[in-house]
Symmetry: C2
Subunit: 579 residues, 2 copies
C-alpha cells in the first residue's frame, strides 16, 4: 500500500520522477482516447492521465473509487493555477482499483447545494469535501497550538470526570442513571469549574484541559448539547498577568493557523463602556454606529415617551434615511424582541430632522440633537428610551442588524478585545434578591471590597471575557480564596448555612486547607474554530454535530432503548398524554 507522495505535493521539480499515488477519484474526463482523472486525498488533488491501453482497465471506474497508480510526473500543457499541483500531471503506467464506490448522495466538492440535514445524515461524505477537511485540520492546529503554548509554560493537562455531580452553573444538567445505585444519577459536567479550582487547592498551580462540557439547554440555532472548552486555571497570578498570557496564546494561534500578526495588548473595555458604546457585553468593534447617550438633550423634554426614563440613547446609520415605512417597522419589531416598548426613528434630510415625533421636540432639543449626534444628510437616527440595560441591548441589536445588511464586516478581519469589570452581582427585582453575575466564587475587585457590605451592586468582579468579532470566545475570573469574603458573598446571595452545605458542601470545605490565590479562563473552542475557519456555524467545525433538535441525523441518536435496559436502571418512561 506504499505511496511515494501524497496528492498535494508534486511540483515541476518532480518531473520525470516515478511515483506511486493513492486516492479517491474526484473527477473523470474522457479526451479522445485518453482518460483524465483528478485523484484526491487529504493533501490535495493530482491529475492522472491514462493512455488508450490503460484506459481499458478503468472503464468502470467512477467518482469516489479508490485507485493506486504508478506513473511518471510530466509537465502539463494546460496548467491549472488554482491547484497547488497544477503544473504537473502523472502519466499512469499501472493502476490498481483499491475499492469501488456507489454514487454518493452528496457531491464531494467544496460547493454543495445539499441541505444541512442531508449533509449530517451522510456526514462521513460531507467530511470528505476538501473545504470540510480543511476546517477539521484548522481546528486541530488551533488546539495543538494552544496545547503547545500551555505545555511550554508548564501547564499540566489533567483530566476531570465526565460522570460526576451537578455543578452550580445555572443551566440544566444531563443526567446518567446509575445501575448499581438505585434511583441515583451522575451528572455530566457543564464545565470542570469545581475540579479545576480543587486542582489549585491541590497545588498544581497551572492546569489546563481540552474539556468536553454538556448543557441541556433549550435549543438555539448554534448550540450543541456537548461542546469543547479549553479550560485553564492558575495560581499566584494577577488578572493582568492572566490576560497577558491569554493574549500571547492567541498571538501564537493566529500566527500558526492563519499567519496573521495579531497586535497585543488587546483593547480593554470595562463592561459599562462596552454596553454604553456598543450595546453589548461582547461588542464587535470592526465598524462604527456606536451608541450615543442623548439623555442630556431631553432632560426637560415634553415628549411623554422620554419623560422620566432611566436612559435615552441613539444610533446614527449613515445613508439609510431612505428606508421605507415597512423597513422601519421591521426595525421596531427587532427592538421589541429585545425588550423595547417601541422605537423612535428620525431622518436627517436636506439639513432638517424629519419624523413623526419631531413635533414633540423643542427647537433647542432639535439643534442640540443634531450637534450631539453630528448628523449628516441622509442619516437615519434610531432612539431607544427605557432602562439603561434595555436601551443598550436594543440599540446593540439594531447596530448588529445594520452591520449584517450593510455588510460592514469581513470574515477576514479579526478584532480581539477584553470586556472587564463586570458587576459582581445583579439585583433581581422580581425575586427581591441578588444573583451572582458569574458564579458565587468570583472574586470582587480589591478596590471595591469596601462596598461589599453596604452596596454590593457597586462591586465589580475580577472577571473578564475575551471577545472576537462580536463573539464571546472565552471568559474567566479570579476566584475568592479568602473565607471571610466568601462568607460575605454567600450572605449577599441570601444563602443559609444549610443551603451552602447542600449546594457547595465538599467544595467549600476544601477551601479551609490552604487555598492559593487563583483564577482561570475557558476558551469556547468550537467558536474559536468557527471564526478562524470563517464558518457560519459551529456545526461546521465539529466532526459529528447534533442538529438544532439535538439529534444526530447520522446515527439517529438519541433513540429508544429496550425495556431490559431501563429495568436494569430502575427506570420507567412516563409518556405524556399526547403519545
Amino acid at each position: 500500500m506504499k505511496r511515494t507522495h501524497n496528492n498535494g505535493e508534486l511540483r515541476l521539480s518532480n518531473v520525470n520522477e516515478e511515483v506511486t499515488l493513492i486516492g479517491w477519484v474526484s473527477k473523470r474526463r474522457n479526451f479522445g482516447a485518453l482518460v483524465f482523472i483528478d485523484l484526491r486525498d487529504r493533501y490535495g488533488i493530482t491529475q492522472l492521465v491514462f493512455d488508450e491501453q490503460l484506459a481499458k482497465h478503468i472503464t468502470n471506474v467512477r467518482n469516489e473509487y479508490i485507485l493506486k497508480v504508478d506513473g511518471v510526473v510530466a509537465e502539463r500543457k494546460d496548467k491549472n493555477p488554482k491547484l497547488a499541483t497544477g503544473d504537473i500531471e502523472i502519466k499512469v503506467k499501472g493502476v490498481e482499483i483499491v475499492n469501488t464506490a456507489e454514487t454518493t448522495p452528496l457531491i464531494i466538492a467544496d460547493e454543495t447545494d445539499a441541505l444541512e440535514d442531508t449533509r449530517l445524515v451522510y456526514r462521513y461524505l460531507d467530511l470528505r469535501r476538501p473545504v470540510m477537511q480543511n476546517k477539521m485540520m484548522l481546528r486541530h492546529k488551533i488546539t495543538k497550538t494552544m496545547r503547545n503554548f500551555l505545555d511550554d509554560q508548564e501547564f499540566l493537562e489533567i483530566e476531570t470526570p465526565i460522570l460526576t455531580k451537578s455543578t452550580p452553573e445555572g443551566a440544566r444538567d444531563y443526567l446518567v442513571p446509575s445501575r448499581i445505585h438505585e434511583g441515583e444519577f451522575y451528572a455530566l459536567p457543564q464545565s470542570p469549574q469545581l475540579f479545576k479550582q480543587l486542582l489549585m487547592i491541590s497545588g498544581f498551580e497551572k492546569y489546563y484541559q481540552v474539556a468536553r462540557c454538556f448543557r441541556d439547554e433549550d435549543l438555539r440555532a448554534d448550540r450543541q448539547p456537548d461542546f469543547t472548552q479549553v479550560d485553564i486555571e492558575m495560581s499566584f497570578m494577577s488578572e493582568e498577568e492572566i490576560q497577558t498570557m491569554l493574549e500571547n496564546m492567541m498571538v501564537k494561534v493566529m500566527k500558526e493557523t492563519l499567519d496573521y500578526d495579531l497586535k497585543v495588548p488587546f483593547l480593554r473595555l470595562p463592561y459599562e463602556e462596552a454596553m454604553n458604546r456598543y450595546g453589548s457585553d461582547k461588542p464587535d468593534n470592526r465598524f462604527g454606529i456606536e451608541l450615543k447617550d442623548i439623555k442630556g438633550v431631553f432632560e426637560h423634554s415634553e415628549f411623554k415617551v422620554f419623560k422620566g426614563v432611566e436612559s435615552i440613547k441613539a444610533i446614527v446609520v449613515p445613508e439609510q434615511a431612505s428606508l421605507s415605512r415597512k423597513e422601519i417597522d421591521k426595525l421596531t419589531d427587532l427592538a421589541k424582541k429585545y425588550g423595547a416598548g417601541g422605537l423612535v426613528s428620525l431622518k436627517f434630510v436636506d439639513d432638517a430632522l424629519q419624523g413623526g415625533v419631531v413635533k414633540f421636540f423643542s427647537d433647542t432639543e432639535i439643534a442640540e440633537l443634531i450637534t450631539v449626534l453630528n448628523l449628516q444628510n441622509n442619516d437615519l437616527v434610531l432612539i431607544s428610551s427605557d432602562t439603561w440595560q434595555t436601551t443598550c441591548e436594543v440599540l446593540g441589536a439594531l447596530r448588529l442588524h445594520f452591520a449584517d445588511v450593510l455588510q460592514l464586516t469581513s470574515k477576514d478581519d479579526f478584532s480581539f478585545l477584553w470586556v472587564t469589570d463586570f458587576p459582581l452581582v445583579e439585583y433581581d427585582k422580581e425575586d427581591g434578591r441578588y444573583y451572582a453575575k458569574h458564579h458565587p466564587f468570583t472574586r470582587p475587585k480589591d478596590e471595591d471590597l469596601k462596598y461589599l457590605d453596604t452596596a454590593p451592586e457597586k462591586v465589580h468582579a475580577a472577571a473578564y471575557d475575551m471577545v472576537l468579532n462580536g463573539y464571546e470566545i472565552g471568559g474567566g475570573s479570579l476566584r475568592i480564596y479568602d473565607n471571610e469574603v466568601q462568607k460575605k458573598m454567600f450572605k449577599i446571595l441570601g444563602f443559609s448555612d444549610e443551603e451552602i452545605q447542600e449546594r457547595f458542601g465538599f467544595f467549600v470545605d476544601a477551601f479551609k486547607y490552604g487555598t492559593p490565590p487563583h483564577g482561570g479562563f475557558a476558551y469556547g473552542l468550537d467558536r474559536v474554530a468557527m471564526i478562524l475557519s470563517k464558518s457560519d456555524s459551529i456545526r461546521d467545525v465539529i466532526a459529528f454535530p447534533k442538529n438544532a433538535a439535538a439529534r444526530c441525523p447520522m446515527t439517529g441518536a438519541p433513540g429508544k432503548v429496550d425495556d431490559k435496559q431501563l429495568e436494569e436502571l430502575h427506570l420507567q418512561v412516563i409518556y405524556s398524554e399526547k403519545e
Copy 2:
C-alpha cells in the same frame, strides 16, 4: 504575587541571591530561637530559616499555610542529599501569610497510612502529596509525548461525540435520557470505534483522539466507569507498519518519561503460542515458569483424570516442593476459580517424583515426565488437565500467583510484546454459534481467507494487542473494507439482513462509498500511566477516580435528583421492593 524561583530550583550557585518564594508549609521546626520551615510547591521543597525577630511574625503558622517570603540564599551547614535543594536554605528577610489552613485530615507527605476512601474524600489534599503530583505530571508527559509523536506524523486529532448511540462493543452502555425527545436516550461511547472508522471513510487517513470512554460493567477492583483511551486509526497501512509505528511511539514515551531505552522490534507472540507458553493472551515474560505440554507423556495413561482430555499441561516451580498441604489447597482453590475441576500437584524430592497420584502413573510415564519437564530437586509440579483453554488459563493464573508471592518481577523492568494472530471468531457451544473475538469489522488475515466459508474457526484475525508486564495496554486490528468479506463475516455470525440493518445500519451503508483499507489501535492510557508510574492501581493516576462501587467519595456522585428533574426527563424511578 511574583516569585523569583520555584521551590525546586535553587542550588549552591544561587548563594547570596535575593529571592522571593511562595509555597505551602510542609514542615515547621523550632531550633532554639530559630524557626525552620520546609516550603513546598509543585516543583519541590526549600528550607527557610526565620531568625528570632521574624519568628515572632509566624508564631501561628502551621502546616499547609501558604507563605510568601523574601530572603537570601545561603549554604546549609547540614546538607540534605535527599532534597534537590538540600545544599541551600533561605535566610528569610520578610514574610507574608498568603492564606491560613486548618489541620488537614491527611498528612501531606509521600507516605500515607490513610485509607483509600479517606484519600478519595479529600482527594484535593491527597493530590497535594508530592508522590501524587509526580504521578499526574508523568501522566501528562506520557500523553504529551504520544500527541507530539502523532502530530509529527500528521495525525489529526478529531473529537467524536460523547452523547451518541449504542455501539456494538459488547459491554453495557451508560444511557443519558433526552429531555426533548420523550422516551429516548443517548448512550455514552464505549469507544469511538465507529466514528474513527467513519473518519477513514471521510478520507482523513490519520486520526487520533485522547478519548474518554464509558462502560457500565460489573465492577472489579481496578476498573473505572469512565476511562481514557488514546485512540488511533489510519488508512493505507499494513499490520506491520502500524505495529512499527506504535513501537516507535512507545520508544519515545519511555525515553521522554523515564529516560528508558526501549528496544524494538518487540517480541511478537502469536495468540496460540502466548497461551501455550504463558497461559495468557497478555503474558508477562519477565520471568520463566512457562507451561509445558505433557499430553504426549500421558497418551496411554490409566489415570482417569487424564483420560480423554483435550489438554494436559504443567508448570514447574523451583524450590517450592516444601509447600504445605494447606498451601497446595489454596493453589487448588485458585485453579478452580479459573475453571479447573482440580489440580494435580507433585514434588520432585530426592530425585523422586512424589504426590498422591504418582501411584496411577507408569514408570515410563514418570521417567518421561522427569525428562520432559527437566525436573530438579525441590521442584513443585502443578498439572492441569482439561480443555486447552482451561489448562492454559489455570496454569497461567498459577504462574502469576508464584510471580507475586516469590517476587519474581520488579516494577523497574519493562517488557513489551505483541500478541498477534488472534482467532477471528470463537464458537460458543451453548449458543451453537460463532461470536466475533474482537468485533464483526475485524479483518481476517489474507492467507486464511480460504477457510472463511468452510472452517471459520481456523481463520486468524489481523488483530494485535500490545502487552506490557502482563497488562494489555492496547489493542487494535485491521478492519474489513471489502463488502464481500463483510457479508461473509455477518453470515458466519448468523446475522440476518434485518439484524445487520438494525445493529449497524448507517455504518454498513457508509462502506459503500469508497472505503480505504484501514486499521487502528487504542492505548489504555490509564494502564500505561499506572505501569510507568509504578503504581498499584489506575486510581492512582486518575485525578478524581471513582471507588470500587463506582462512586466518587468526594462529590458523592452519583446522587439523588429532585422530582422536577426526573419529570422533565419523562422518567420515574421504580424502586425495588427492598427499599
